[in-house]
């Protein structure tokens, strides 16, 4: 998935002279996860460059660049570090089109790795998407595989509104089945690991049916798409897995079509539970599919604790938790 992201940035730097890539360690070195490797050498130091360790500044100057007419793609090294930039995102980038009645707009794409499962502890594992899905004027994208990551990132960069592009770091190097004690399988063995070199887009706001099924619907995104699919395959569960891909705007039609068909719904995310995006999904399903529901909606999420370093596999909503939730869902 790293190569797919690198390819998306490379393609866009080549196609559009207004695209710039910036962030901590992204220049000469190519990023701590190597997502920008080789881009500075190819596109030059004023197109791909390192920044001070100052997230407020990284996003703040990107907002100004966007107002000028560039399409900046700032990287926040870990989603856990995004909070110093909160005001520039929440009060500035996303409101400038609105408050200026369309005189100015900010076409920036903020990339940032999120999620745990890599022993990153409390400060390298968070999934703060729910903080941002609450913010109007902002699009939030979380890809689950290399093919989608490239197509969605290109669509995000070409979008004229601010986009937050969260990359689940646990699946940078391969899909994850939720079993932390098994060897990592590389993307090369996965169909969505095949990524064309050229330009292509996947539209924002469109979910994908990642696995068809009839027993119940699992709503997931990012890493949890693979955990959910692996759970179904390993346990012979005939569930339908919806990969949301974009949280805002949300593809409500794909969600409701699936829940109307199955009559049961499980929501899975790695982020903490209270006020998480699962709450929004749950409310949406309840509002629109109430009469089709045959059981209470199940939410399988991270616990409402900080991400504990040594205990991360107790926090991570893995196969055991999915199995118990599926039992409750089917017994009700």
């Amino acid at each position: 998935m790293i190569q797919a992201i690198n390819s998306a940035l490379d393609v866009m730097l080549g196609r559009d002279p207004m695209v710039v890539v910036m962030g901590e360690d992204v220049g000469y070195f190519g990023g701590v996860f190597r997502a920008t490797q080789g881009l500075q050498a190819k596109h030059g130091r004023t197109r791909v460059f390192d920044t001070p360790i100052n997230e407020c500044g990284i996003v703040g100057v990107a907002v100004g660049m966007g107002a000028y007419g560039l399409r900046p793609v700032p990287e926040i090294q870990f989603a856990d570090y995004i909070y110093p930039a909160l005001d520039q995102i929440v009060s500035e980038a996303v409101r400038i089109r609105y408050r200026s009645a369309g005189e100015y707009w900010i076409p920036i794409t903020i990339r940032s790795p999120l999620g745990g499962g890599i022993f990153g502890g409390q400060t390298h594992s968070q999934s703060p998407e729910g903080v941002f899905t609450h913010v109007t004027g902002l699009k939030t994208v979380i890809p689950s595989n290399p093919y989608d990551a490239k197509g969605l990132l290109i669509a995000a960069i070409e979008d004229n509104d601010p986009v937050l592009f969260f990359e689940p770091k646990r699946i940078y190097n391969g899909p994850f089945d939720g079993h932390y004690d098994r060897p990592v399988t590389p993307w090369s063995a996965h169909p969505a690991g095949e990524v064309p070199d050229d330009y292509y887009r996947i539209p924002l706001g469109k979910a994908a049916v990642a696995r068809e099924g009839n027993a119940f619907t699992i709503l997931a995104y990012g890493t949890m798409v693979h955990v959910a699919i692996a759970f179904c395959e390993e346990n012979g569960v005939d569930a339908e897995v919806i990969d949301l891909r974009t949280l805002v705007p949300l593809d409500v039609d794909t969600i409701t079509a699936s829940v109307e068909k199955t009559g049961r719904c499980m929501i899975v995310h790695e982020a903490t539970r209270t006020g998480g995006f699962g709450a929004e999904l749950s409310a949406t399903v309840q509002e629109r599919c109430f009469y089709a529901l045959e059981a209470p909606i199940e939410r399988v999420t991270g616990w409402d604790t900080p991400y504990p370093h040594g205990l991360e596999w107790g926090y991570f909503p893995g196969p055991i938790r999915l199995r118990e939730a599926a039992k409750r869902l089917m017994e009700a």
Binding site: V20, A62, D87, S100
Partner: protein, 426 residues
Amino acid sequence: MTSQDGDARRNLPPLALHVPEPKFRPGDAVDFADFEMPVAGAVDRPPTDSASRDMAGHVYAMVRVLDDEGRAIGPWNPGLDPDRLRRMLREMLTVRAFDERLHRAQRQGKTSFYVSSTGEEATAIGAAHALDPDDMCFPSYRQQGLLIARGWPLADMMCQVFSNSGDRMKGRQMPVMYSARAASFFTISGNLATQYPQAVGWAMASAIRGDTRIAAAWCGEGSTAEGDFHSALIFASVYRVPVVLTITNNQWAISSFSGFAGGESTTFAARALGYGIAGLRVDGNDILAVYAATAWASERARAGHGPTLIEQFTYRAEGHSTSDDPSRYRPSEERNLWPLGDPIKRLAQHLTTLGEWDDERHAALEAEVVAEVREAAREAEAQGVLGDGFRHHPMETMFEDVFEEMPKHLQEQRDQMLAEYKASGL
């Protein structure tokens, strides 16, 4: 056993917290006798390619061009011709008349809120004259003078303040949060200092693209305490950004005097030193000093020598806004005793000294701009005022411009709102 009872360290003197307090509070006699008046013409004008460390003294001194007799003296005298000076005077008078008119309109219930810049007119007008018309301005909410100096229609600004049918912001922004792309004037935020890194980013973009335009930003001395201010300075320094960063030190942040932004211990211009940025401190009520410093900084930026941080030392003569009553926290006579005087009177005095102005012409000009403002107000008020209620913009327009294309969930919410209003007979 903890040491929180202090017993173990009883032989040390107790610590004491310093909480700043302004010199004068309501009821105190105001006396600026110990204000050390900087001497006009005394500060040298370094070459615009000077290293910041070679001009460290400038952040503690104060550039003044106009002396007490209204003469323009010293190396910072920009030598502007009388026509230009009269234009500056006219614009400052326009700002003052505009502020007075809209302050009154707020008191009459025509709008919710207003922010005057009384006493600070030179800070925006002087700077605007020193920049090119297409240099990009990232103002705070007290730089209405920039728009007026750039010839923006007064009625258009008033329509924004009234949130009326002529308000190009469609009633979405609080009064004075103007946006004027055609005047290279960025949309104003109510959050403080957020425009500082944005200005730096805009100027970085201009440099990346090989453009010739520079950016300029303004914030108050109180806002220099915000993280965004420091974020902006580090980026401006690292990339030698062609940007002019101005701090309008009007002494007061609502009720907090400049001591709560660190003003007791150093100057605001001195913030530049740690970042390796050129810093200048100027008399903000001396429009020639303001002009000269901004021109110096703009020349430096355009020649690729990087950013400048300018502190304009001035005084906020009115309250923070119409929601503020400054007599609750500072003596009312302070504004009249401010040692650096009034910027309009000082420029008028200078023109008089040159033999280019007199009281009669001044009175005539004042009457002329008041009439112009009155006419603009008539034009704006004919398009409605906020006090009229919700009728100026169709309610459903609130859903526009959240995104470039309205996504489905907003379309649904818009339709729901309209249906609910319809059902209730509205």
